[in-house]
Symmetry: C2
Subunit: 332 residues, 2 copies
DNA sequence: GAACTTAACGAAAGCGCTTGCAGTGTCTTA
DNA sequence: TAAGACACTGCAAGCGCTTTCGTTAAGTTC
């Protein structure tokens, strides 16, 4: 391994000067800079990131915890965050929590032991208190999709209530009256907020909330088919379903096809998230866009501003919007 | 920051003993171990990964370069690789090359400067020679989806030729004779191999290869619709299309719907990759499964065995298989 | 030309850890 | 009981870098 020592010897300056030339923290004579960079070039020198980090206690990297390294949600999130971080000449280290509290904790440990300068956290399992503790250790911490009052300007969420409202309103506007709603796990605040949005829209249109039109599903793939079947079996004149995410909508698609119900004609469906596949399934799914791109960008910008202690006004409640495609029948 | 020094003082042993207790490289008296771990617990000590890495020149982490942090291919790849790596108490650091040679090089640099113990590389832009050079620097390097003869037991590919053969054979077996093929970029070896598989199947069934049935598309989203339209416009009695990936198949779906051709009846389509959405589109797409899961697992196992210098017989040509769904009409 | 400022640099300490080496003390073995 | 073997431990060097501090040389001011 080529070290700074060899560079300094070849360039006939001290190690300190090489370091300074490299980092630009202090002034170095032009002639020496040239000598240094020539030597670096000639030797193919690459600074040892560990030694740098150890000596400076800065790691030039941002840690990110996501639920999973795969999937239509986390993918773009990581992608966009990395983009921004890279542009600032820093690096993003991503780990996944894989829906286990232990792994989430372990991942945060790992990232902190790597002395990340900042942290972007999308956690399912960690409690607010634990997040607060983490943010105390790593002040430049940004929390995604969770609102922790104590960390109010470090949280970036989307307005789930608005999203639920938009989806429902779209159905109502299209002339539907019996609008069902399949929620995610009601243990999750996202589900409850989206449901509240649904209720708000109903109220606005003067329609009574009817609990028999509600079913609790799951945001992941498990068991939604059965929920949809049972909902339809209730046979209470449903003409439209607001599925609280696109996964659930997918299950609804499958069940409708089982029952030979033509989506967009016999029944209408609205999803939530605007996952990549929502535009590939037929009929193309009308859904609420989850601004995951913006979230990635915002998270990265926010964490970088915290790291560099710059002023930055976070946009911490991102607005979803309706993507009107082909899965909703319009009566008017 | 709590350091090993403080732990050693509280436990009333030397730093060396703390280190040894922690790493188990050497024997430490039981009573001292207990004292050490009690002290660690009490102080909430976390070893500084940089100092560890610097001192030991081992980083306990594997670097991974992928094309993008998102998408149905790289997602599961990362996911499964991380799983395995974690189980060995190491960590995976993922960076993306984003289809730019510069970024790929930069990412590898970054990973190497982080002293990763091993490297898993899925590169689009780097030349074989460059890969060889990288593998020289980091001996525990595994190359994905590329066969570099000099690194033969560090390459993990799938058998694209077999895949192309299986797709075509399925169509032929189902009674189709005029089978078109839309390839990916022919600059990519994958495309050429899949095409060769197509030809092999034709030969086996005694059918003459007809260049007018071939069109060159792209593995990504760009411009495939137009290619499909032009192919159909040639009006040469095509009853089936082998699309060299699911993306292309998606474009074919769109064009067929434009032209009111019912897939699985008027025309048959086989894809390649078995992307997540292929089972959600209607009719469900018959496609060739790309064993991405196995690839992730195999890559991780391989790189770990290289890191620990253990014997491991790589399965470096993974077998794709046909997933028979609803997009192919069967004449028999 | 003395006194001061400033630019540029080198020496060296130190970041927190691992590890080779040299003990020390205990246990076997003949 | 001497001597070798062994288990355990501490000392201290050193990993490759950053950064403080002091020094030198050059420039500035009156």
């Amino acid at each position: 391994m080529i070290t700074i020592k060899e560079v300094s010897e070849l360039a006939q300056v001290s190690q300190a000067t090489v370091s300074r030339a490299l980092n630009g923290h202090s002034t170095v004579k032009e002639i020496n800079k040239i000598k240094v960079f020539e030597a670096i070039e000639k030797l193919g020198y690459k600074p040892n990131a560990f030694a740098q980090a150890l000596a400076s206690s800065r790691s030039n990297s941002i840690g990110m915890l996501v639920g999973s390294l795969e999937g239509p949600f986390y993918g773009p999130l990581m992608h966009n965050a990395e983009d921004i971080v890279r542009k600032k000449n820093m690096h993003l280290i991503v780990t996944s929590g894989q829906e286990s509290k232990e792994k989430e904790t372990d991942s945060i440990r790992f990232l902190q032991s790597k002395q990340v300068d900042g942290l972007i956290i999308h956690s399912d399992m960690l409690s607010d208190d634990e997040l607060i503790k983490i943010a105390k250790n790593t002040p430049a911490t940004v929390i995604l999709n969770r609102y922790v009052p104590e960390l109010s300007n470090q949280c970036i969420c989307i307005d789930n209530e608005l999203g639920g409202y938009l989806a429902t309103k779209h159905l109502l506007e299209s002339g539907h009256i019996k609008v069902a709603c399949i929620t995610g796990q009601l243990s999750k605040i996202d589900s409850r907020d989206r449901l509240q949005g649904y209720r708000n829209a109903l109220t606005e249109y003067g329609i009574q909330y009817d609990a028999s039109l509600i079913a609790e599903g799951r945001f992941d793939h498990d068991g939604n088919h059965e929920k949809v079947r049972r909902l339809l079996d209730r046979d209470n004149g449903i003409t439209a379903i607001f599925c609280q995410n696109d996964n659930i909508a997918l299950a609804a698609y499958d069940v409708c096809s089982e029952r030979e119900l033509t989506i967009g004609k016999d029944i209408s469906i609205v999803g939530f998230d605007n996952d990549t596949y929502s535009q590939h399934i037929r009929p193309r799914l009308t859904t609420v866009n989850f601004p995951v791109l913006e979230m990635g960008v915002e998270a990265a910008n926010c964490v970088l501003s915290l790291v560099h202690k710059e002023e930055y006004s976070v946009n911490n409640k991102l607005a979803p919007e309706l993507i009107d495609r082909d899965s909703v029948k319009k009566f008017n």
